[in-house]
Symmetry: C2
Subunit: 334 residues, 2 copies
DNA sequence: TCCTAGCACTTTCTTTTTCACAGTGCTAAT
DNA sequence: ATTAGCACTGTGAAAAAGAAAGTGCTAGGA
């Protein structure tokens, strides 16, 4: 258990380090705390023994450790009201009746990325949670057509396929078959069903049934398993601690879509409204913090994530995410 | 007019610098050219006077100037056969019957990016070149539906819209109207036609016609004006000359989708099969080279572009692009 | 006339040295 | 408990020194 003064000191160090990214010395603190730097130093030594602070070298000021950030987040952080400015900008998005619901989510995340210089991620439901809602085709010319697949979650994917020498009516019949027989199946089980339920039927009356079957099989087999949107990848470049190409490369690689979708998906939920995973607590990168929240509306469910350096403006991000989550869930059915 | 020996020297310097990114000294060259370093030095001085070579400082080796690269590309470069390895990998893609035509293009560009560590770009036709082919809807639930727009070029875009209190049959009627009256219109003129041709009609019988009109209007008004795919943005990080965050940032910003689509689109075509724009010759970045080719198939037309440092493996990229262009155009109608 | 050996000169890059600074830990006194 | 005082330490910037790479120029030889 920390004394009040120790808490105060830890808090100042965390906030100061978040602001300036420079180790915090005892002098800076004694100004605000009305005691001598020597006193602060001995307190800082105690906090270091407890594992809450670290030094970058023997005679440097102190930097929060991961455990220190954790303590701050759990015990010291006061959830601030959002700044009026932040609030206003977000409200403009959510009150813009021109924008469709989906765009609101995307736009607000984009705004968060811009305002904070962190990276935000929207992760929709995975393909095994999506079922086939409807499939339709648009012929382009004799040989080529577009297949459009819509899932119950409103996720849409389309693919250009070419079927030379296949009668368009046979394609239409096949589409009808699929729409009658397979709708409601989880996306990643569709290709299996195609093989055992559709293929035998069309084999009877379609000349080029092999070609036809293959084309549809591929559509479903390559269906994006994740529905992910990463916004502001390049923001990592704006932070002091990522000042060399290797680090930046490493992080940008992590942000690649498939990659990040898996990593975000693996987050073991802690069940809070907003969950914070600092450094080693997340599986994206030890140098980063991940803040996550989930949302659920009649149309769609998913996760919203903000990723930034451990030295992150926790208060602000939490406030922003809470606001967005709330707005999404209230307006989801507008 | 350069002497044979001067050409030889320039060529060696270009190739060597492309390989190692280090200024090339006279000693290295005299080994291969059977003459003394002093001779080479005086030749290099001449080439520098002609503006084909540059020094990084008074006593450094030589580096090709932009003009030097240009001379190399125009006069010295021998279009090599592709390496067997490159050839094989690409052929696997184009001979893979599982892959649809579109995927072949994307896959082969992805491969190029991986093999060369440059960035490649696929630019489809712009919205003013696309006309409306068909529009269709998939209802998700009472209030929400998906609008799918297909253009004559096979470009597809979809949008989630919500229309509370609008009868689905009215929506269907509107869709039919659009499909009957507006098909064939260039995409960027559609919203105008909606206003003057469709809106007056639905106003007569649809209660919430304002809502309905707005929704469709937005779909077309926000239609992506460019159809662009940038592959391997992060490759810029792998090149020696981009060793600081500012440069990398600058380039990565340039690669952002809307941005790059415009820049690529602005390229004034020189009408060759393959066009090379070195440094200031392109409008993407003075430190980069852009290699561009166009393709045209019955289904689609567009540009393929490779962007990399000026110190780029010209031979290889040209060979790769030529191969891909040829395969696309031959297989476009397979 | 062209080529080359030789040499002085220049710039960069790396290493070493020096120095001020910011900050610590400890001790002794309050 | 707190604090003033002081010795000590690692950093970072600046200056100094030396090695390496490469040039330009000159004079002599084919």
């Amino acid at each position: 258990m920390l004394t009040e003064r120790q808490k105060e000191i830890l808090k100042i160090i965390v906030l100061e380090y978040i602001k300036l990214a420079k180790p915090v010395g005892s002098n800076l603190i004694c100004d605000t705390l009305n005691c001598s730097s020597a006193t602060i130093r001995s307190e800082m030594a105690t906090l270091e023994e407890l594992g809450l602070l670290e030094k970058t070298h023997t005679s440097s000021g102190r930097v929060p450790s991961e455990k220190g950030y954790r303590y701050y987040v759990d015990n010291l952080m006061e959830i601030k009201k959002m700044s009026a400015e932040d609030m206003l900008k977000l409200q403009i998005i959510f009150h813009n009746n021109q924008l469709q619901f989906n765009d609101c989510v995307a736009e607000s995340l984009k705004l968060i990325s811009e305002m904070t210089n962190y990276t935000s991620i929207k992760l929709g439901s995975a393909s095994h949670e999506n079922t086939l809602k409807e499939i339709s085709i648009v012929p382009l010319n004799d040989d080529n057509l577009i297949v459009i697949v819509v899932t119950n979650m409103g996720y849409v994917e389309h693919k250009n396929i070419s079927l030379p020498n296949v009668d368009i009516n046979d394609v239409k019949k096949t589409v009808n078959l699929i729409n009658n027989m397979i709708v409601g199946t989880p996306i990643d089980e569709v290709s299996e069903k195609l093989e055992f339920e559709i293929k035998p039927i069309i084999a009877n009356y379609v000349e080029e049934h092999e070609k036809l079957y293959n084309a549809f099989y591929n559509v479903f087999n390559n269906f994006a398993s994740k529905n992910v949107d990463v916004i502001g990848k390049r923001n990592i470049l704006k932070h002091k601690e990522f000042d060399n190409i290797e680090k930046v490369s490493r992080i940008l690689d992590k942000f690649e879509d498939d990659n990040i979708a898996n990593l975000v998906d693996e987050i073991k939920e802690r069940g809070n409204d907003i969950n914070i995973y600092i450094g080693k607590e997340n599986n994206i990168d030890d140098d980063m913090t991940v803040i996550e929240t989930s949302y659920k509306t009649p149309q769609e469910e998913g996760k919203l994530v903000v990723v930034g350096p451990k030295r992150m403006d926790y208060d602000r991000v939490v406030a922003l995410l809470e606001f967005i989550k709330e707005n999404i869930e209230n307006q989801g059915d507008r």
